[in-house]
């Protein structure tokens, strides 16, 4: 029963010294890992057949938008995209543990069930990110209606 957990915490302690402090800044991806620099992965995801398509929100814009319109549009697009990911469970957790950031110490509830699972942490991060974006969106549109599953 504890096999997986042991392996996890082993992995944690191995990596901790290298990546300590990474958690504070989750936008910093990929994290700086000198030993992995050489086999650096491109920041591009997927290929030209694997694209994000949000009905009603084209990703091709005219070039005559005002700065505010452009910013607001990009904000809403990100809000919609994060909402889609939360809704469909497409959390972007790399299937290969090697590509993941090291886990924090596990936290368990009174029944011994782990609370801070990777899925929980990822959802939390996406929700926080969306919250920040929605707050910024209100600056451009005070009547902005956030997604149905927000708050």
């Amino acid at each position: 029963m504890s096999g997986k957990r042991d392996r996890d915490s082993d992995y944690d302690s191995r990596c901790k010294t290298v990546h300590q402090g990474y958690y504070a800044e989750s936008t910093n991806w990929p994290p700086d890992m000198p030993d992995r620099r050489k086999k650096r992965r491109s920041r591009w995801g997927g290929d030209d057949k694997d694209k994000v398509f949000i009905p009603g929100m084209p990703t091709v814009l005219p070039n005559n938008l005002s700065g505010n319109q452009e910013r607001a549009y990009l904000l809403q697009l990100q809000i919609e995209e994060i909402s889609r990911r939360l809704r469909t469970g497409d959390l972007g957790i790399p299937p290969n543990p090697e590509d993941r950031s090291p886990s924090p110490e596990p936290i368990y509830n009174s029944e011994g069930k782990r609370l801070n699972t990777r899925e929980y942490r990822t959802r939390k991060r996406l929700e926080d990110e969306r919250h920040t974006l929605i707050q910024e969106m209100y600056k451009f549109n005070t009547d902005f209606k956030p997604p149905a599953d927000y708050k």
Binding site: S42, K51, T59, L61, P62, N63, A72, E80
Partner: protein
């Protein structure tokens, strides 16, 4: 169709039909924004948005990495003449910071790049594109 004392309703099954209201087009909530005009006339300068945030461009090594990733990918679609990624300067509002500009050899190459890159993911963000006025680009009016 009548089945006993009940009516049997036949519907075409499709994946995600129950969530169909989720797939309704998004209402764009940007005051005064009209996107019905499309992209406008193509140029040889492509503007890529939503790819980088200013904080990522501060670090020299990360900046070089990003530049390389973008050049490498854009070169697949045509000859890249130049790339501009405005970087943040402490205490100054840098125009175009957060955007990436790629100048191609021809309008055709630029169109090809737009078709292929728009909607892709970069650093887990959705890439948004538009054509950019070459004169403004050369005057660095980002």
């Amino acid at each position: 169709m009548q089945l006993g004392d009940k009516k049997l309703i036949v519907q075409r099954a499709s994946v995600g039909a129950k969530n169909s209201q989720m797939n309704a087009p998004v209402q764009v909530q940007v005051p005064g924004l009209n996107l019905t005009g499309g992209a406008g006339p193509p140029t040889e300068v492509l503007c890529l948005m939503n790819m980088v945030i200013p904080e990522e461009l501060r670090d020299e090594e990360e900046y070089e990495d990003i530049l390389e990733d973008i050049k490498e990918e854009c070169n697949k679609y045509g000859v890249v003449k130049s790339v501009e990624i405005p970087r943040p300067i402490e205490g100054v509002e840098v125009p175009g910071c957060g955007k990436v500009f790629v100048e191609f050899n021809s309008v055709i190459d630029c169109q090809k790049a737009q078709q292929n890159l728009t909607g892709r993911k970069f650093n887990n963000r959705v890439v948004v594109t538009s054509y950019f006025d070459p004169d403004k680009y050369h005057r660095r009016e980002f």
